[in-house]
Assembly symmetry: C2
Amino acid sequence: MDNRKEKLKLLGKKIEKEVEKGENPFLDVPIRNLSNVSYNPKTRMVTLGNKTSKRFLFNVAHIRKFVQTIETAAATKELIEVDKHLNLRQIYYKLKRTLPGTQINIVDEQEETNKAVEDLELITGLSREQLHVNAGKAGFAAGKIVIEDKGDTIDWSKQGSGGWAIPSNVENINFKKVDAKFVVYVEKEGEWETMNESRLWDKINCVIIGSKGQATRGIRRLLQRLSTEHKLPIYVLTDADIWGIYIYSVLKYGSISLSHMTESLVIPGARYLGLTPEDVIKYDLKKHLIKFEDVDIKRLEEVAKYPWFKDDATWQKQFKIMRDIKGKVELAALTSKGIAFIAEKYVPEKIKNKDWIE
Amino acid sequence: MDNRKEKLKLLGKKIEKEVEKGENPFLDVPIRNLSNVSYNPKTRMVTLGNKTSKRFLFNVAHIRKFVQTIETAAATKELIEVDKHLNLRQIYYKLKRTLPGTQINIVDEQEETNKAVEDLELITGLSREQLHVNAGKAGFAAGKIVIEDKGDTIDWSKQGSGGWAIPSNVENINFKKVDAKFVVYVEKEGEWETMNESRLWDKINCVIIGSKGQATRGIRRLLQRLSTEHKLPIYVLTDADIWGIYIYSVLKYGSISLSHMTESLVIPGARYLGLTPEDVIKYDLKKHLIKFEDVDIKRLEEVAKYPWFKDDATWQKQFKIMRDIKGKVELAALTSKGIAFIAEKYVPEKIKNKDWIE
């Protein structure tokens, strides 16, 4: 039997038993705040501790959340049974209804279903995606991998100028043929198109994955699966600014808000390929500096103190350069060195010279 | 010879000749503001008039823009010659350099290159995409069409749960096999995934194209090509709000800012499938109303006065319902009628019953 349905059924049975015994039914919800989240230097991941809080049915302060969590569990069980998926907005509408004979809605705001889905992840240990609740869809892939998805065989090296569109949920994708030796992930669509147009993935035997800014859960999970299941190194390309480095930080170490999902989302072996602040000097890009605003500087000092960065000499050197040059440089600035410089020189040379930050 | 290169060369030769004759070289730039843009009720398109303004090299007020336009022309000629593309951000960096012996940069802000690219479109009659300058990349396609792109044959009916990622530039795509009878375009990724998961395109023999909000130029051009080259009806799905109707309005009639590109972007035959304000009543969705803010009401009254809407009884009826119900309803609200209601009932029934607005 489907392990996921089993877990959801066990949850229901537990509540049922408590009702039958005349007890006050409760849910044990792992606590997800700073008091229960910590960085484990051994695994190099942000992880969740063991603290939980009990949520009771017969408790005026708890009942609303209790019912929402149980209703969400029922909805996800149905989704798994009929093998359909919904996103967070859609599941909110699915749950939104008035209790018969009352003026009370099960949910009034999407924020409530969002929380209930997260609680269900925490309680069952199943990811939102395993529960058939999808996050955003974004990103594209091209390169030397053939996958199977929904019965279709999809060759990422035969996707023209567009690439394969990454779905919100990549749990059921099978990697059929992995000729790629590594993955280059870039946070910018324009640079992805430049690399694809130059067929970088063909020249250096890899896969290129692109997004528009911060990677969605679907992209993170795809990168993570390629890293763990096929041992492919993941190289990350972002703008040389603190927001870009934060994208890398989340990919590699995780985040507080998704600390319960660390093991299925985090990529401990991710490598920061660039643009590094050092590259700004090395590639003579200082004339393309965009001056920091106060918010950038504030963020820089926050990120520089992250447990995984604060004692790392390589990263502290990068942060120091940022403080000195007082500005950021975009990946697009590499265009000033040549139309396809990023694809023809920058990425291949940096990988060849092992010029990345681990 | 490549018609595009020819046009750019002619432009260069004209300037060269004027220099040789000792004349003051100039560019004739079509004027693109309300005084020169109008709605043509016959073609049902927003179109540009014949007014132009002269931009001289030896004129302190003109020289900067003159040089930027010529530099952009040279850059696009190079792009066409080496068969590479750049986006607007990248071309800005390509042009950004200091004139030798001076402190003057060719461009200081991206806004300047953006304008220069637009001017070049106006002067040459070539679209940005034909000039190898790409706009944003977004969107995904699935369904009964096989294309050829960059030497790859891509079957949109074999793209798994992700779909084919639409590139920023679709000028060079060849439609090899078009079995689809029409296109359903939806502005929301979640509803696209629901329709794809239900294989709607297989059941009703179509193509589904999705975006995240407003369609990019690449998506618009793809829809327009399918409409003109293959006479496929284009059905548009948006939220039942004025912003959704505006998305449809731009697709079908064009916009002032792109009036010079009307013929390659506008889809006169586009049909608004829904959500119509009338659907909110018919499908009993009033309980999912999200109350209008002042900005929604203001926008509603602006759009209702558009030349193509103001005398249209069907649209005025929809606007009246919006004023009465004083709120908007999202496509996602259809989930309250069933997990895949939009794919299994709503879209197929509306198309079968010809229940759309033309």
